[in-house]
Structures are given as structure tokens and as C-alpha cells.
């Protein structure tokens, strides 16, 4: 038994942060946030740091939401999302990526792909479980894994492999506590993709080691030259994969916060339990807009993809011409050139580029292992801005004398 005095010392807290859960307190602040603060004061800059489309949501999609509001569609929807939207998502995934899900119990609509990732990790991870994360990658997997009590295990990927995950690299990080593998392809920030032959040996390891894959396929539609392959479409992988995607990137709907998760009914059921207690459902007007996007927005989506591809060629060629090595990004809307020959760290490079050349890019180290020495440049910006940014970077490199 603890006496009163002991209890008092045990809970003595000297600052507000002492009240925080250690799991939250120990999350490192996002490196991207720090850079955002630097940029937000600056004027006349061209930003290649934006992680979202430069298209506004197509008008017919916005109009569908406006009309739904006029008709008074302002209520909750079923927890898993509007049935017609879930059906449309299942149909779309089957047509586009050859993965078949039952809309009734294998598809749920979430508040962005972000919520789906959070739900999947919370549903799967018990304290001490290891979460394998190929890096560089989108910044949120590792912190969310850590909040759930899991142990994030980064797996470095390399430019020489086009930033693909290799079976050898994965095998080297497997332990008896490994439980979840997160895949993010097409990849933010590298633009790397995983093709069928790349996924096969990964799928084999996943089966052998009894892992679950959380496959973040938010950029699935944005591939150039070859169609995206979902790991869920490989033999035996559907039940082992939680496919996460959404409308933000391909349909230019970031602010609507609308995503979805698909997977085995038992997993989706577990995620749905958390979802119903935490958020109830995704906003109804966003769901209606997403339904419109799937029903009538595919042509517009293809036009946007074509436009990204044109700008992708422009920026990659531009970087190579001014002397920055740049692997060919085959997906998403990022180029990830190497700045190693400047001798600067990616953070130093980006800070100086911002102050001296008025171009914002995101230093690669914020995306985890293997990111140092690279910078992420989004080409979701106008052709004239891209051309001007390349000229500014060129002048900056000359000034550095490299």
C-alpha cells in the first residue's frame, strides 16, 4: 500500500508538459513544420514545397456538394460511409486496379487517407509490436505507430534502386516482433513506384513472416508510363493488406478530407469500431462530392495526370541540366534530386535556397532514413513557376560554385 505522502511525490508535476503522456511527449516535432515556419514569413518565393495538387476541385464536384447543402443533406451518414459511395469505390478499385472488395463490409470511408492510416495502426498494434516503414516516406507513419505503443522500424531505400523496397532490405529488418509493413507507393517524397516484379518477393516475405501490409496508395492514379499495381492484387495478399487511399491527390480534393480503407472484414470491423467512437462518420457533403468525382470525374482526373506528367518531364530534365542528379520519378508529383555534390546538408541547402534564391523545397531528411542529401520538389505548380524556379536554383548553384 502507498501512503499519502508517497502518492503526492509520485504525481508532483512542475510544468504542463509533465501532464502529457510520455508517448506523445516523446514524438519528435515534424521537421516539415519547422521549415513551414521559415517559409511562411518570406515574400516573393516560389514554393516547390506544396504537397497537394495545384488544381482546384473540378466545378462539377464542388457543385454537387453545393446542391447537396441546398437540399439539406447535413446529417450523419452510416459510420462506414454512404452505401452508394462505398459501392462506387469498390467498382472504381476493381476497374482501375483489379482489386475486388465487398462494399458492405470490406470498404469504409474515412476522414482522409490519414484517418485510415491511424485507424489501421491503432487496430493492429499492441505495445512492442514492430512496424516496418520503408523510408524516405510520408512523415506520419512513424509517429502514429509510436503513439499506439508500437516500435517504428525504418528501412532505408536508395536512389540506385529507384527508391524501391527490396526483399533483402526488408528481410534484414525482420524480427519475431515484426507485425506490420507500411508501403507508400507511388512514394512521397521520392516519386518511386513498386511494379509487379518488385512486389512479388515482398509479398512472399510478408506471407512467410505472417505480416499485415498497410498500403497507402493515395498517389495510385498518378503514375507515368505504367499503371499502378496494388499489392492487394497479388495472389494471397488481399486478406493481408489494408488498402488505404482517397480523393485528395488524383481528384484534387485535399481540403475535403475524404479517404477510404479496404480490407478483410474483421480488420475493417475493428477499424470501424474506433471510427464510430471517435468521429462517427466522414462529412456528408464531402462524401457526396467524392461520389460525384467517381461517377463523372474520371476524364478530368486523366487530364490532370497528363498535365503532371508534362511538368514532371520539365523539372527532371531541368534538374539534370543544371547539374543535380535526379532519378526518374515514376509516380506522385515529386522530384527528389540529390544535392550531395554541393557539400551542404539538405537542411542547409534548403535554408540557403530559400533565403538566397527565394525557392522553397523540403529538405529530404524530414522524410526519414535515406532522405539526407536530397530535396523534395513538388511539380504541382505552373509551368512558368517551374521554369523560373529552375533558373533561380541554377543561379544559386553557380553562386555556390559547384
Amino acid at each position: 500500500m502507498i501512503d499519502q505522502d508517497q502518492m503526492k511525490t509520485a504525481v508532483k508535476r512542475t510544468s504542463m508538459t509533465d501532464y502529457l503522456s510520455p508517448l506523445v511527449r516523446n514524438i519528435p516535432p515534424s521537421g516539415i513544420r519547422k521549415f513551414f515556419d521559415l517559409v511562411s514569413g518570406s515574400k516573393d518565393i516560389i514554393s516547390l514545397g506544396v504537397g497537394e495538387p495545384d488544381f482546384v476541385t473540378p466545378w462539377h464536384v464542388r457543385e454537387a456538394a453545393v446542391q447537396s447543402l441546398e437540399r439539406g443533406r447535413t446529417t450523419y451518414t452510416p459510420n462506414a460511409g454512404l452505401p452508394e459511395l462505398r459501392e462506387a469505390i469498390a467498382e472504381y478499385l476493381f476497374n482501375e486496379f483489379n482489386v475486388k472488395y465487398e462494399p458492405k463490409n470490406e470498404v469504409m470511408v474515412t476522414i482522409g487517407g490519414s484517418e485510415a492510416i491511424d485507424l489501421a495502426l491503432r487496430a493492429l498494434i499492441a505495445p512492442g509490436d514492430e512496424v516496418l516503414i520503408p523510408e524516405p516516406c510520408y512523415v506520419s507513419y512513424s509517429p502514429i505507430a509510436a503513439i499506439t505503443g508500437g516500435v517504428p522500424v525504418g528501412i532505408e531505400t536508395f536512389a540506385k534502386d529507384k527508391f524501391k523496397l527490396t526483399a533483402d532490405a526488408l528481410r534484414a529488418r525482420l524480427t519475431p516482433r515484426s507485425k506490420v509493413l507500411i508501403l507508400c507507393y507511388p512514394n512521397n517524397p521520392t516519386g518511386g513506384i513498386m511494379e509487379y516484379e518488385d512486389l512479388l518477393p515482398i509479398a512472399k516475405l510478408v506471407e512467410e513472416h505472417d505480416l499485415i501490409v498497410i498500403s497507402d496508395e493515395i498517389y495510385a492514379e498518378l503514375t507515368y508510363g505504367q499503371k499502378h499495381v496494388s499489392i492487394a492484387s497479388l495472389p494471397g495478399m488481399k486478406d493481408r493488406t489494408i488498402l488505404v487511399s482517397g480523393f485528395s491527390k488524383a481528384f484534387a480534393m485535399t481540403g475535403w478530407r475524404l479517404g477510404y480503407a479496404c480490407g478483410h472484414p474483421d480488420l475493417i470491423y475493428a477499424m470501424l469500431k474506433i471510427h464510430q467512437y471517435t468521429v462517427m462518420c466522414a462529412p456528408v457533403m464531402s462524401q457526396i462530392a467524392a461520389y460525384e468525382a467517381l461517377k463523372h470525374g474520371l476524364e478530368e482526373k486523366d487530364r490532370m495526370v497528363e498535365s503532371y506528367n508534362q511538368r514532371r518531364r520539365l523539372i527532371v530534365k531541368g534538374f539534370r541540366e543544371i547539374g543535380l542528379d535526379c532519378h526518374e520519378p515514376q509516380g506522385a508529383f515529386y522530384a527528389f534530386p540529390s544535392i550531395q555534390r554541393t557539400g551542404l546538408s539538405s537542411e542547409q541547402f534548403c535554408e540557403r535556397l530559400l533565403y538566397e534564391a527565394k525557392v522553397a523545397a523540403v529538405p529530404g531528411h524530414v522524410f526519414g532514413l535515406g532522405g539526407e542529401g536530397f530535396i523534395r520538389c513538388s511539380y504541382a505548380t505552373s509551368v512558368s513557376q517551374l521554369t523560373e524556379a529552375l533558373e533561380r536554383i541554377d543561379r544559386f548553384l553557380r553562386k555556390l560554385g559547384v
Binding site: I32, V50, V139
Partner: protein
């Protein structure tokens, strides 16, 4: 027409000042092929002209523009074309379209002021033999032309850096 030419037209329609070099990169084609295609488009009069879209209302110029619905009786053998030609040869006429529906030609006329347009209609247009009637509509404000919105708009609401 091949797909390359259609894509070229779309890109040049967005910005006519794009160089063959830039277009070659964007479309992943050799520059010479792009130059050749543009040459052909120009020779075939598919690319008619590289003009500038001007928002005149922001200048001190006070010109007025009217859209005029014109009803005509077509000429035997030459249909509407001969009369259309007699109309479009006037430099004040900026565009002429043959229309389906309640009238035949839609004529866009520009003048220094209201009076000038009015006298064009009464002295030049109406007296043409086969013109049966005209209906003049003055343009008060141009919001959008050729897919280009005229109003100054802050289009990029994005955060400058996001993950």
C-alpha cells in the same frame, strides 16, 4: 490529325509563348519534330495567329462592343457565306458566327463609342440587301473570354509547405 498536334494545340492555347524546346520536353518528343508539327499547323492555317488576350476595361481605352443578331435570306448557290463575307470584311467587325436557332449570324462589332456602333448598324449592316432584321446587344462587362477569366482572382490558396 495525330495526337501530338492536338496536344501541341492545347499547350499553345494555354500559353502561345511556350518555346519549341519547352514543348519538346513537356511532350517528350525531339525538338525538331515539334518545330515541324508547328510549321505544318501554321501552313494548314490551323494555327491562325498568336494573339494576346487583353482585358481592355483595365486600360484607358473606352471602346464598346456589341453582339448583333442578324437575320438574313440566304443567297441562291452561295448560302450564307457571301453575306457573311460582306459583313466580316468591315474592320469594325471582330467576329462572325453562323448560328442555329432564331437568327442566322451573330456579329461582334467594336467601336470607339456607342454612337459609332449604332451608325455601323444603321449605315452598313442593315442596308445590306438580304439582311432582314438586326438586334443589337451591348456588352456591359466581360467576365470570361476563350476560357480565360478576366477578374483578378487569388487562385492559389495552398499552404506554401505541406507534407
Amino acid at each position: 490529325m495525330d495526337e501530338l498536334k492536338l496536344k501541341l494545340l492545347e499547350l499553345l492555347k494555354e500559353d502561345a509563348r511556350r518555346s519549341p524546346e519547352l514543348l519538346a520536353t513537356m511532350l517528350d518528343q525531339p525538338e525538331e519534330r515539334i518545330r515541324q508539327a508547328i510549321r505544318e499547323l501554321e501552313e494548314d492555317h490551323i494555327i491562325v495567329k498568336y494573339a494576346t488576350v487583353v482585358n481592355w476595361s483595365k486600360t484607358t481605352d473606352e471602346k464598346v462592343t456589341a453582339l448583333i443578331e442578324v437575320q438574313i435570306t440566304p443567297e441562291r448557290g452561295r448560302g450564307f457565306d457571301a453575306i457573311a463575307e460582306r459583313i466580316y470584311l468591315h474592320p469594325q467587325v471582330k467576329s462572325v458566327y453562323l448560328m442555329s436557332g432564331a437568327y442566322d449570324l451573330l456579329v461582334e462589332v467594336e467601336g470607339k463609342n456607342l454612337k459609332e456602333v449604332a451608325s455601323f448598324v444603321s449605315e452598313k449592316l442593315s442596308p445590306i440587301d438580304r439582311v432582314l432584321s438586326t438586334k443589337t446587344h451591348f456588352i456591359l462587362k466581360k467576365y470570361k473570354q476563350d476560357g480565360i477569366i478576366f477578374e483578378d482572382r487569388e487562385d492559389d490558396h495552398r499552404l506554401q509547405v505541406s507534407p
